[in-house]
């Protein structure tokens, strides 16, 4: 299916802006999967950032296998966003600070009556910031959808600038 890239990227940005809690799947060097909750933010190129306490299992997994998969779900609209790509630790201090500030804002908004653990990590400086770069993001809205093929349901949005994109990932979720 042919998709207008700008529009699709804007949909993804809008979804990420309103849905900042996801689950990150990583794999150990023994091939054992691990899934953990993360708060996320993103940049204009749709790189996704998260932070975690140093030494967590996801952090250890990323250092031995830098591939990761992020899933975000909005139950009200039955919309999923999936991103699979590689992760690097962010060392640029200004970018680390930007991510920490943004996640602090997001986390306290998500849970205004009780500061979530991420805000305590940021306060204590005991964290690392990571960037997930995926070649494409997969967005699907199921609410109101009749039975349909994956081509009709999944919108594959490339993160790199291209005028148009004609693609369909036959692997469904």
């Amino acid at each position: 299916m042919t998709i207008d890239i700008s529009e699709s990227r804007e949909h993804v940005r809008e979804f990420l802006k309103n849905n900042s809690v996801g689950v990150l799947a990583t794999a150990s060097n023994m091939g054992k999967p691990h899934a953990a909750t993360v708060y996320v933010t993103f940049d204009q190129d749709l790189n996704i950032y998260f932070l975690t306490r140093k030494g967590t299992r996801k952090s250890q997994n990323i250092h031995s296998n830098n591939q990761a998969a992020l899933s975000i779900y909005n139950a009200a609209s039955q919309t999923t966003l999936q991103a699979e790509g590689s992760v690097i630790e962010v060392s640029d201090t200004s970018k680390v600070q930007w991510v920490a500030n943004d996640i602090w804002r997001i986390a306290t908004q998500a849970s205004p009556n009780s500061p979530p653990p991420q805000t305590q990590l940021i306060g204590a400086g005991d964290y690392a910031v990571y960037k997930l770069s995926a070649p494409s993001l997969r967005l699907a809205t199921f609410k109101g959808q009749g039975a349909a093929s994956p081509e009709q349901v999944f919108n594959i949005v490339p993160t790199q600038e291209e005028s148009h994109f004609n693609a369909y990932d036959k692997n469904v979720n």
Partner: protein, 152 residues
């Protein structure tokens, strides 16, 4: 099995029946997908519905180790679990899972799980026998407080 801990975890799953499943792709990279889940009443097993042509099901048939996570942001709580996936064959269990998932989502206007809308082969019920599970409830707690965690 720690029965008391499992009861807390089961109650949590009943209240938060949407999870993300982590599996491993053939190339060793991880895959994550959202699933609607329910917990067994007596054994430490979590069930979900999927279809045979999905990536997660194909991954499970190759490597049955999975990670499973549920998050409730307003409550600052999350369940992290690992286990072994298996295809459920027992018709009584399949019936129980279908009824429970329908019941848990009955209040939703569009209760059918997303997988129901996807043409991806035949339905299959998968069970995940939990090998470890950790329920973390951070609300009102300081990091490091042992009361945050309920472990199976």
């Amino acid at each position: 099995m720690n029965t008391e801990a499992y009861n807390d975890i089961r109650t949590y799953i009943d209240r938060n029946p949407i999870a993300t499943l982590g599996t491993i792709n053939p190339d060793g990279s991880p895959h994550g997908a959202v699933i609607y889940v329910c917990a067994d009443n007596h054994h430490s097993i979590v069930y979900f519905i999927t279809k045979q042509a999905t990536k997660k099901y194909q991954n499970i048939t190759e490597r049955n180790q999975v990670g499973l996570t549920i998050v409730n942001p307003p409550e600052n709580s999350t369940l992290q679990a690992n286990g072994h996936a298996f295809e459920v064959q027992d018709p009584l269990v399949i019936d129980m899972v279908m009824k429970k998932i329908a019941h848990d989502h009955a209040s939703a206007r569009d209760w059918l799980p997303p997988i129901a809308k996807l043409r991806a082969g035949a339905y299959v019920i998968v069970g995940v026998e939990l090998t470890e599970a950790r329920l973390a409830q951070f609300k009102g707690m300081t990091i490091g407080d042992e009361r945050i965690f309920t472990k199976l």
